[in-house]
């Protein structure tokens, strides 16, 4: 398939994915490990955003507590590591199971509510977990816990090597994207999509929407928990701050920024979010005056507000509009 067949949206997505695949090469050539650092965080958070998008974009469940699952995943690496247990084949299933269980219990309650109440209660549960970890002195309380050794996979892959960790994360992202793609288009996906549009109608058609939504909530939590294990290994450090509600807000924003309900939107959103976070500060120093960089969050906030107000459909929506414009111009050209 040639690039022109893909359209602008498709081309940008392919380009971003190829770039992501080549980041380690880029980092090696330029001898700048910082690129790899940013990209690893990007890929892991993109995975978390994709999982959030499954319930938010496809299922219409706006959760402000999704970072809880990142925290559960990271602590599932950190706590065993604290007891010198580094086996990833134990840590990862533990993370997935613990996340799924937390999602099942909290989701069962959250999904009894709708709208703003749902947002508040997902946030409340995440904050409960936040304060639970703050209060556990054994695991560092709010100072957090250093992870000396990353997840080990019996010599299969060595995560102490940053490039290996990166590629594991990148391949995981691809796998999650494929999984979510299948789910969204399956019968199950039809049900949660329909319930997003008109839940009562779905019930009168014969669907117990609650059960399907709860299942989607559990799947999203489990995926995000897995992403959390990689983040724990990557940062070599965990703290309750990872599951603070503001972190959930960031995930939410990545999804909105990229385009809710689109497969690659959250990836683009995570990329844009992290790049702004990293480069807005030096850019401001350069453009305005020395020291302006520390106020980067101010312009960051303005950008976020503008996107929400005018950027209907986020980045993917914007690319779609470009495609439409191009098609119209093409059609005109043929007249």
């Amino acid at each position: 398939m040639s690039l022109s067949n893909l359209g602008i949206r498709g081309s940008v997505i392919v380009l971003v994915m190829i770039l992501l695949a080549l980041v380690p090469v880029l980092a090696a050539v330029t001898d700048n490990a910082f690129y790899l650092d940013v990209a690893t965080r990007l890929v892991i958070l993109a995975m978390a955003a994709v999982s959030l998008n499954l319930i938010l974009g496809n299922g219409g469940m706006i959760s402000l507590g999704h970072a809880a699952f990142i925290g559960i995943g990271a602590y599932s690496v950190g706590i065993p590591a604290y007891y010198d247990m580094y086996n990833g084949f134990i840590q990862i299933p533990l993370a997935i199971a613990a996340s799924a269980l937390f999602a099942l219990i909290t989701g069962a309650i959250c999904l009894r509510t709708k709208g703003v109440n749902f947002i508040m209660i997902t946030m409340a549960f995440a904050q409960m977990l936040f304060f639970a970890f703050v209060s556990i002195e054994e695991y560092g309380g709010d100072d957090g816990l250093v992870i000396n050794v990353r997840s080990e996979f019996g010599g299969l892959i060595d995560l102490e090597d940053n490039v290996s960790l990166y590629y594991l994360s990148f391949v995981s992202l691809l796998a999650v994207l494929y999984l979510v793609h299948r789910i969204v288009n399956s019968r199950f996906g039809m049900v949660i999509g329909g319930a997003k549009g008109n839940e009562r109608r779905m019930q009168s058609l014969g669907f117990n929407t609650y059960r399907y939504q709860l299942t989607a909530y559990v799947i999203a939590g489990a995926i995000c928990g897995y992403a959390g294990t990689l983040l724990g290994s990557f940062t070599n450090f965990i703290s309750p701050e990872m599951l603070d509600w503001s972190r959930s807000g960031e995930l939410l924003f990545m999804v909105v920024l990229g385009g809710t309900g689109t497969l690659f939107g959250p990836v683009l959103g995570a990329a844009a979010f992290l790049l702004l976070e990293e480069y807005l500060s030096p850019l401001q120093d350069y453009l305005l005056f020395d020291g302006a960089g520390i106020y980067w969050q101010f312009s960051f906030g303005i950008i976020l507000i503008l996107v929400v107000l005018f950027g209907k459909g986020g980045i993917v929506g914007f690319l779609d509009r470009l495609d439409e414009k191009r098609q119209r111009r093409k059609a005109k050209g043929h007249d």
Binding site: N185, S186, R187, M190, G197, G206, F207, N208
Partner: protein
């Protein structure tokens, strides 16, 4: 005589002291079209909502096909063969027309905890869905986004969704609402063609349609069923004339 398909006994519902359904009794025979008429605010839609399970009665009993469904949730009634249409179009507006119908087929096709195969190209779903759409003459609109259909087409889509569930009982809440004379006439023809195949409870304001279609009619006035009988019985019933039909029929 065989047992009625649906038997409603002393159904009562009130909202904070305001009575909406007052000891209503109705039974539906297999295969009949049973119309429920009455002035605005007589409690017709409330009655349908209770039959469909969207609202729960305070007391009384609903028997369907020999089972007590009074306290069952909406979705399990739908799975047992009760489908309803809505007075105000109630569909998933963002989905293509075909997918609204497909969801109705899917609901009846076992559980949907199937996460892998693509649903919208599944022949076992798409074929019955297309057939239902063609039956209501919406086949050529299958791929359009539902929100862009005309009012009349929305009404047809509602019917297609109900039919696609292959129900034994159809609850039709003003299927002709807001339709022009020609569209109404076509809907009457269509519902006539379903006669005998489906048992129907029809709530409708269009009296011509009601008297053309109904085998029996129940009249609701002030939340109570004041009379039930054949169209002729109802036409000649003094109470009904006084309470409702009034000048229209004289």
């Amino acid at each position: 005589m065989t047992d009625p398909l649906l038997q409603v006994t002393d159904l009562t519902k009130s909202y904070g002291g305001v009575v909406a359904t007052d000891r209503v009794n109705i039974d539906l025979r297999v295969g009949e079209i049973h119309a429920v008429i009455g002035p605005n605010g007589a409690g017709k839609t409330t009655l349908i909502s209770q039959l469909a399970g969207e609202q729960m009665p305070d007391s009384g009993r609903i028997m369907f096909d020999g089972r007590d469904i009074t306290h069952q949730p909406t979705y399990s009634r739908a799975l047992q063969g009760i489908a309803r249409t809505f007075q105000i179009t109630n569909i998933v507006h963002d989905l293509p027309v075909i997918e609204n119908v497909l969801l109705s087929v899917q609901a009846q096709a076992g559980h949907s905890f199937r996460f892998w195969q693509v649903a919208r190209t599944d022949k076992t779903l798409i074929e019955p869905a297309m057939e239902a759409l063609r039956r209501v003459s919406l086949g050529q609109r299958a791929d359009d986004i539902s929100r862009y259909l005309s009012h009349g087409e929305h009404r047809q889509l509602e019917i297609a969704m109900a039919l696609a569930a292959n129900p034994t009982l159809l609850l039709l809440d003003e299927p002709m609402a807001g339709m022009g004379a020609e569209e109404s006439a076509r809907m009457v023809d269509f519902l006539t063609s379903l006669k005998g195949e489906k048992t129907m409870l029809l709530v409708e304001h269009d009296m011509d349609a009601v008297f053309a279609l109904a085998d029996r009619i129940t009249v609701l006035v002030n939340d109570r069923a004041i009379a039930t009988g054949s169209p002729d019985d109802i036409r000649n019933n003094e109470d009904v004339r006084k309470a409702y039909l009034g000048d229209e029929e004289s």
